[in-house]
Symmetry: C2
Subunit: 133 residues, 2 copies
C-alpha cells in the first residue's frame, strides 16, 4: 500500500466483495445522510475496475488519489487524477477504475439516491482496458 | 499558502467575498449536478470562520486539509482534521471554520438543495472563538 500513502484522505475502509469489480476494491461509506446522499470512498488496486453500469439518478466522482479512468459507452476513456470531478448523468452506461500501474481513489456521490440503485451490466473487456495508455 | 500545499486536492478557486465570513475564504464550486447536489471546495485562512447559519436541507462536510472546527448551537465545538465527516442536520444552527493557527479545507455538500438556501445569522463572537484550543 506504500504507493497510496500520500494520497489517502479518508480511511480506506474494508475490502468490498463484489462480482461487479474485476479485482480488489475497498469501500468506506462516509455517510448516507439519511438515504438522501450516499457518499463512499472507493479505493481500487492497480488494474481494478468495475463493470459497465448505470445509475438511475446519476453519480458524481471526486478523485482524491492515484491515476484512473472513467469511460461512457461510445466515448473515449477519460484519464483521471487527484482534483478531477466527473459528472455521470442519469442512465448513462459507464465504468471507472484504476490504471494498470497505479492505485486509484475517488469519492462516489449519489446525488439522486431516491431514483434507485445501480444497474450492473457486463465487465469491461481486457482488450478494451489493455488498450488504454 | 505554503502550509496548505500538502493538503490541497481540489483547486482552491477564487476568493469569495461574503459578509457571512470574518476573514478570507476561497470557494471552488466543483459541481451543482443540475442543482441536485451543489459541492463546493472551501478554503479558510487561519482564524477565518463563517457566521452562525442553518441549512433547510442540511449539509455534509468532508475535511480534506488543515485543522478547523464545527459547532452546533448549544454544543461543544468539534475539532476537525483531514478525513473527518460532519453531518449537519436540517435547520440546525451551526458554524464552521479554521483554527487560529491553521488553514482549513473542506468539501461542503448540500444533500437536499431543493429545500432552499442557507439562512445566515449572527457572527461567532471573538470571545467564543478565542476560547477554542
Amino acid at each position: 500500500m506504500s504507493d497510496l500513502t500520500g494520497s489517502v484522505i479518508f480511511p480506506i475502509g474494508q475490502k468490498f466483495d463484489s462480482n461487479n469489480f474485476n479485482g480488489t476494491v475497498w469501500l468506506n461509506m462516509l455517510t448516507s445522510f439519511g438515504g438522501a446522499c450516499p457518499i463512499g470512498n472507493v479505493t481500487f488496486e492497480p488494474g481494478c475496475r468495475n463493470s459497465w453500469h448505470k445509475h438511475p439518478g446519476g453519480q458524481i466522482l471526486l478523485v482524491t488519489g492515484g491515476r484512473g479512468w472513467c469511460q461512457e459507452w461510445g466515448k473515449p476513456a477519460r484519464e483521471l487524477h487527484p482534483g478531477d470531478v466527473v459528472e455521470i448523468p442519469a442512465d448513462v452506461k459507464h465504468w471507472h477504475g484504476a490504471s494498470k500501474d497505479s492505485w486509484f481513489v475517488h469519492l462516489a456521490i449519489e446525488a439522486n439516491a431516491a431514483a434507485g440503485p445501480a444497474e450492473w451490466l457486463e465487465p469491461v473487456s481486457d482488450e478494451d482496458y489493455n488498450n488504454l495508455k
